[in-house]
């Protein structure tokens, strides 16, 4: 018999629990029969789990249809913009970085939290002013080939011994903002919370890293695979959800956490303003926050849930920082996205100027 892996077990456990409760659920959810919503989800392991485990069960419980469309944060925001006059999506998955933008442009609606009982367990930091909820929390930090000893401090990466051995994240990707905060923190000697406002003065520090940069990557999983193969020693930096699936399968790559701290990558969900069947959309968002769904989802994607009260196995716990108190202890930092968004295009131009020259 083929041994059951972690991911298969998660799907089966979620399915079995829901099967036993099916008759009562169907009666209670008769209002949703025949309705349809379109949900913009992510690609990758998270998208796969949503499509293959969560959506089919939700459709069975509510007698409805959920059409999923895979994308990524910027594309999903653009889809909401493009369909603003006649919204097609009801729920959209985006990173927390884009929530202020979507809110200010009137693309998303405030959540009716009173109709989302599962949101009671949501940690306060992941309700984003009532305009979204967290779904999965990753840690952004260095990743490295297990054949090397990673540096204790980000500052060590500027040492010539790392010349041509670092893969740097592309300015297109959100973790590049984390890199800029690191550079500002090193230059000013201030903690991330203060250094983020001094990024504009830190580009000389960024430029000093150039000799150590082998190349720029914009596809996290591919970059992780390349570091595992030894094409570079270190990746600066990426979300744990892209790294740990490799680590868990035995690839010679893992993450390290320099003393300056690490960053939180918050995958989130938002309710599209005036999207079709808002009641069903809210029910879907609530389903995404339910404990059994979050436990299985987190163990599948190796991310931490944004809700409290979930117990994880020792194996799964190795790959996540959970609960919120552990996130505080680990110094997980979330930038001031409103400030970042206001300056990001200028920073991107600066970065492009340095690394394309």
């Amino acid at each position: 018999m083929t041994p059951m892996n972690r991911r298969t077990f998660g799907k089966l456990a979620l399915g079995a629990t829901s099967f036993l409760a099916a008759p009562a659920i169907l009666t209670r959810n008769a209002w949703a029969q025949g309705k349809e919503i379109q949900v913009g989800i992510w690609g990758g392991a998270q998208g796969e789990y949503v499509r293959t485990a969560i959506v089919p069960q939700f459709e069975a419980d509510f007698g409805c249809t959920v059409i999923t469309e895979e994308g990524f944060t910027l594309a999903n925001v653009e889809k909401m913009r493009a369909t603003r006059t006649n919204p097609q999506f009801s729920v959209m998955f985006i990173d927390d970085v884009a929530i202020p933008i979507a809110r200010d442009e009137g693309l998303i609606a405030e959540l009716p939290l009173d109709k989302m009982p599962a949101a009671e367990m949501l940690f306060d930091r992941f309700n984003f002013g009532g305009y979204g909820t967290g779904l999965a929390i990753s840690v952004a930090s260095l990743f490295h080939n297990t054949g090397i000893t990673p540096p204790d401090s980000y500052g060590d990466l500027w040492d010539p011994k790392w010349a041509g051995k670092i893969k740097l994240v592309s300015p297109k990707n959100t973790p590049s903002v984390f890199f800029l905060i690191v550079a500002a923190a090193l230059k000013t000697g201030k903690p991330f919370a203060e250094a983020q406002y001094e990024i504009g003065n830190a580009f000389d520090k960024v430029a000093e890293l150039k000799p150590n940069v082998l190349n720029i990557f914009d596809n996290g999983p591919v970059a992780v695979g390349e570091v595992a193969q030894g094409q570079a020693d270190i990746g600066l930096l990426e979300l744990s959800k892209y790294v740990y699936p490799y680590t868990a399968q035995g690839a010679p790559v893992t993450m390290s956490f320099p003393k300056e701290g690490s960053f939180a990558g918050n995958n989130s969900q938002v309710l599209v303003k005036d999207g079709p069947n808002q009641d069903l959309a809210v029910a879907f968002m609530n389903r995404m926050l339910e404990s059994d769904v979050q436990k299985a989802f987190s163990e599948f994607a190796l991310t931490a849930p944004p809700v409290g009260g979930i117990e994880f196995s020792e194996e799964a716990s190795k790959y996540m920082v959970y609960p919120d108190t552990a996130m505080d202890s680990a110094g997980l930092f979330t930038p001031d996205w409103e400030f970042v968004n206001a300056n990001r295009s200028a920073w991107t131009e600066e970065l492009n100027g340095i690394f394309s020259a």
Binding site: I67, G71, A82, T85, N219, Y246, Q249, A251
Partner: protein, 265 residues
Amino acid sequence: MNASSVSLPIRLLVVLLLVVIMAPLAVPMLMAVSDSPFLTFPPQGFTLRWFERVLLSREAQASFLFSLQLACWSTIVALLLGVPAAAALVRYSFPGRSAIIGLMLSPVIVPLIVTGVALLQMFSSLGWGDTLTQLIIGHAVVCLPYVVRSVTASFMLVNRDLEDAAAVMGAPPYKVLTRVVWPQVRPGILAGAVFSFVVSFDDYPISMWLADGRHFPLPLYLHGLLERSIDPSIAAISTLVILFALLLVIVIEKVFGISIARLAT
């Protein structure tokens, strides 16, 4: 010029060029048979299990078949619009002709990602929700320039004297079309169809905006797989797509008797 008259440096240069062109295709093919749980190059060991996994995957099969269906429909639509348009552009002079040529070729000039989001915006404004129709229209828009360019070139090379001679000899218009014009433009139309099919089959930027979970073309599936899979399955799919393209060329050459190399020049 026969082969023996080509100098050695030229031959070496040709071999070098071929190696440079073919090497990127060889890499995924080699990685696809690697007996390791991760994508590695050079490959370690030999196995065909990644091909087995891909060929048995219902998602991969569904995406492949959908891409095939989409490419066929897009090519048909592009031919239906492109062939008459090319004929008219070559044979008639009318106001705005240059503007129409520019408009038809614009999808090649404008970044496809911009075309895709513009199409999404248009379909949304029209309240048009059928995804398959949206995708066919979107793909036909980007395939049209390839059909128009290739068929236009064929029509320009048509010998009008032969048409006049046939007409003078009493051939009715449909016979002139089928016996005189068609044999001369057929290679151009077929070339346009091939380019159109390949462009649609490979398209990512248009599909990215218009596709949904029920209509999921192969390039989107491959992109998703690249994000979530760390084993050589993706190299196996890439290999199968390369082999499919080769098969397409062989079928066209053997069944239709048309040389792709000649069409390309």
